[in-house]
Amino acid sequence: MKTTWKLFAFAGALALLASGCATTVEYGDATSSKPISTDFGSSDLQQIAATMVDSMLADEVLEEISAGGPPLLIVDKVKNKTTQHIDTESVTDSIRTKLIRSRKFSFQDRTTEAALNEELAYQQAAAKDPVAAGQQDAPHYMLTSNLSEIEQNQGRLKDVYYKFTMSLRDLKSGRLIWADEKEIRKQKTKSVFGG
C-alpha cells in the first residue's frame, strides 16, 4: 500500500516538473502591429510593403503605362541604410509577390540571373531548340526602394524613425514616373525601476 502511494507521489512530481518546464510555441499574426521593440520588425515590413504597393497600384500613372498590356518591370533589391541587419531580400520578395498578384505587371527576376545564365549555357551546349542569350525581353520600368533610419535619444526616451522610399523609373526616358514614402516612428521609454 505504502509503495503505491510513493509511486503516485513520484509520478505526480514528474508530471508537475514536465508541465512546468515546457516551452510553449504559438502561431502569431504576421500582420499584428503590436510593437515589442524599437527595431524594424516583421510587422513593420508587412505594413510597409503593403502600403507602398497599394499606393502605386492606385496611382493613375499605372493606367497610362499598362494601356498596351502589363509592362515588364524589374524590382531592385531594397537598400538597407539602417543600423540593423535586415533581410532586404525578404522585403523585396514581399513587394514583388504583391505586385505579381495584382496582375498589373509582368516580371523579370534579376536575383536568379546566375541560374538563368547557367541554364542558357546548358541549352546552347545540349538542347535541341535552345533559347539564346540576348533574346530576353528588356524591362521598361524599374522599381527601387530605400529604407533609412534616424535614431534620437533624449534622457530615457528613445525615438527611432524609419523611412521607406519607393520610386518607379521609366528606363527608356530615364524619368521618375512615380514615388512615395512611408514613415514609421517608434518610441521607447526606459523605466526608472526594474529588475
Binding site: T83, T88, V192, G194, G195
Partner: protein
C-alpha cells in the same frame, strides 16, 4: 603577562577568525580569471604571442553568460577572428552587442544592478557586472564589420559601420554634456576663507597624482577615449565599397580631425573631395596638406583603371591594468585609509611603420591612425572619479564592520575582519586585452591583377607575404595583426 594573554583567546574567537579567512579567500576568488590579466595571459595571450591556437571555445564559451559576459564575448570575438573563424567571431561579437544593448535598456534603478553595487561595497569592484567602455564598444562594431566583409557581405559591413558611428557619436555627445555640467557646477567665486578644492578623483586631485602620471604617460597626446580615427577610416573604406562616396568623405573628415598627420587620410579626403566637387573644403586642404593636394579624383588621371589596396596593420597588445595602493582620506583629512586603484603603469613601445609592396613594387609605408593603448588609458582616467568614490565607500564600510566585529566578538573577530578587508581589497583590472596597442593603415592605387604582396619591417624582415587579387575600381583589404612572434592575416576582396 604575555602568556596569560595568549591563553585567554578561546576557541570561539578562533572560529570567527577562521570564518574570516575563508570569507577572504572566497572574495579573492580562486578561478582562472580571479586576477583577470593573469587569467588572460595563461589561457589566451601567451599562446597567441607564440603563434599557438588558444582554445577560445573552452576558455570563453560558458563565461560569456556570466556577469563579465560582455568582456569574454569581446575577447572571444577577437581571438576567433584572428584565427580565421569568422562565423564564430561574428556570433561572439553579436552576443557582446546584445549584452551592451541589454545594459543600456535596463531600468535606471534595477534590482540586479543594486545588488551588484551593494556586493561591491562589501567585497570589491570586481563583482560589478562588466560594462564595456565606449572605445571597446566602437571597436566591437569595427571588427564585426571586418567579419561581414570577410564573408563577402558588404551590406552587413555597412550596418556595422553605421552602428560604430552611432557609438562614437554618442560618446562625443556624452563628453560634451560632461563638459557643460562641469562648467555649470563650478562656482564663479570661491567663498571667503575657502579654497577652490579640486573634485575628488579627477586629474586635479593631488592625492591621485601618481595614478594620473601613469595614465598620462600611456595616453600621451590623446585627450579623449573616443578619439578613434581607425574606425572612421575603415568605415570610409567600406562606404566606398558600397558606392557611397559622400558618406566616405564625411568619415574621412572625422578621422582627419582626430589624426590630421596621417598622409593616407589627407590623400583620401582630397581624392573624395575632388570627386564630389567640394570646392571650399579643397582650398582648405590645399593650404593644410600641400603634399596631398595633387591627388586626383578616383577613376581619373593616374588613378584611371587602377585597383585600390588598403592595409590595416595592427601591432602589439594593449597594456594591462595593474593595481596601485593609494592613501586617501576617508571621512575627513585625519582618517586616512588605503584604497586599491587600477592603473596603467607602462606604455607599450611606439608604433613601428611597416613597408608594403605588391608585384615587386614598393607601395609605401603604413602610418599610425589609432593608439588603442592611449584610448584605454584615457577611458580609465574618465572612470577614475567613480572608481575612487566606490573604493572610499568600501573602506569606510569595512572599517565600520571591523569595529562592529571587535565589539561583538573581540580581538579574534576583529583580526579576521581586518584580514578579510585586506585580502578582499582589490582593484578591478578587467579590460579587453586581446586588442592591439596600435593600428596603422596604408592606402595605395596600383595596376590590377593577381600579385605577390609583402609587408616587411623597415629593418628588412618580412612580416607577412601572400598573393592578393586586385580588381580595377575595386578595393582589396589586407588585415594584418602582429603580436610578438605571431602574425595573423586575412585578405578581403570587394565582391
Amino acid at each position: 603577562m604575555v602568556e596569560g594573554r595568549s591563553i585567554s583567546v578561546n576557541l570561539q574567537k578562533w572560529r570567527g577568525a577562521a570564518t574570516g579567512i575563508l570569507l577572504a579567500l572566497g572574495a579573492a576568488g580562486c578561478g582562472t580569471f580571479s586576477h583577470y590579466p593573469e587569467g588572460m595571459e595563461a589561457t589566451t595571450l601567451g599562446p597567441l604571442r607564440t603563434g599557438q591556437k588558444p582554445d577560445y571555445e573552452k576558455t570563453f564559451g560558458k563565461r560569456t553568460e556570466g556577469s563579465s559576459g560582455v568582456l569574454f564575448a569581446m575577447e572571444m570575438g577577437r581571438v576567433a577572428q584572428l584565427e580565421g573563424d569568422f562565423e564564430g567571431s561574428r556570433a561572439a561579437y553579436e552576443k557582446a552587442i546584445a549584452k551592451n544593448r541589454e545594459q543600456d535598456e535596463k531600468a535606471k534603478i534595477s534590482a540586479s544592478g543594486a545588488a551588484a553595487q551593494g556586493g561591491a561595497v562589501l567585497v570589491n569592484d570586481k563583482v560589478i557586472p562588466y560594462r564595456a567602455q565606449s572605445y571597446e564598444r566602437t571597436l566591437v562594431h569595427h571588427y564585426q564589420a571586418l567579419n561581414y566583409l570577410a564573408q563577402n557581405d558588404v551590406i552587413g559591413a555597412g550596418v556595422e559601420v553605421r552602428r560604430a558611428n552611432r557609438e562614437q557619436e554618442a560618446a562625443r555627445k556624452r563628453h560634451e554634456k560632461e563638459i557643460d555640467r562641469a562648467k555649470s557646477d563650478k562656482p564663479n567665486e570661491p567663498a571667503a576663507g575657502e579654497t577652490n578644492a579640486p573634485a575628488a578623483g579627477t586629474a586635479d586631485d593631488p592625492r591621485l597624482a601618481p595614478v594620473y602620471a601613469g595614465l598620462d604617460q600611456v595616453a600621451g597626446a590623446v585627450k579623449h577615449s573616443f578619439q578613434n580615427a581607425a574606425t572612421f577610416y575603415v568605415s570610409a573604406v567600406i562606404w566606398e565599397m558600397l558606392g557611397e562616396p559622400n558618406d566616405a568623405y564625411i568619415d574621412c573628415k572625422k578621422a582627419l580631425e582626430i589624426y590630421p598627420e596621417n598622409p593616407y587620410l589627407q590623400q583620401d579626403v582630397v581624392r573624395l573631395g575632388k570627386r564630389l566637387g567640394m570646392r571650399e573644403d579643397l582650398e582648405d586642404f590645399a593650404r593644410r596638406f600641400p603634399e596631398a593636394a595633387g591627388t586626383p579624383a578616383d577613376g581619373s588621371g593616374e588613378l584611371e583603371g587602377k585597383a585600390r589596396l588598403v592595409v590595416v596593420y595592427e601591432e602589439g597588445l594593449v597594456p594591462q591594468k595593474t593595481e596601485m595602493s593609494v592613501a586617501y582620506p576617508l571621512f575627513s583629512s585625519d582618517s586616512i585609509g588605503v584604497v586599491a586603484l587600477p592603473v596603467y603603469a607602462a606604455a607599450p613601445p611606439p608604433a613601428a611603420p611597416a613597408e608594403v609592396s605588391a608585384g615587386g613594387k614598393r607601395l609605401g609605408r603604413t602610418a599610425p591612425i589609432c593608439n588603442v593603448a592611449a584610448l584605454a588609458a584615457r577611458a580609465l582616467g574618465e572612470q577614475m572619479p567613480g572608481i575612487l568614490t566606490r573604493q572610499v565607500a568600501r573602506a569606510v564600510a569595512k572599517g565600520a564592520a571591523a569595529k562592529a566585529a571587535k565589539d561583538a566578538g573581540g580581538n579574534g573577530a576583529e583580526l579576521a575582519m581586518l584580514l578579510y578587508n585586506l585580502i578582499s581589497e582589490q582593484a578591478d583590472l578587467r579590460s579587453w586585452l586581446t586588442l592591439p596597442a596600435h593600428i596603422q593603415v596604408l592606402s595605395a592605387w596600383t595596376e590590377p591583377g593577381t600579385k605577390a604582396a609583402a609587408i616587411s619591417s623597415p629593418a628588412g624582415g618580412t612580416l607577412w607575404s601572400g598573393e592578393v587579387t586586385l580588381k580595377a575600381g575595386k578595393t582589396t583589404l589586407i588585415h594584418v595583426t602582429r603580436m610578438d612572434l605571431a602574425v595573423f592575416s586575412h585578405v578581403m576582396v570587394q565582391p
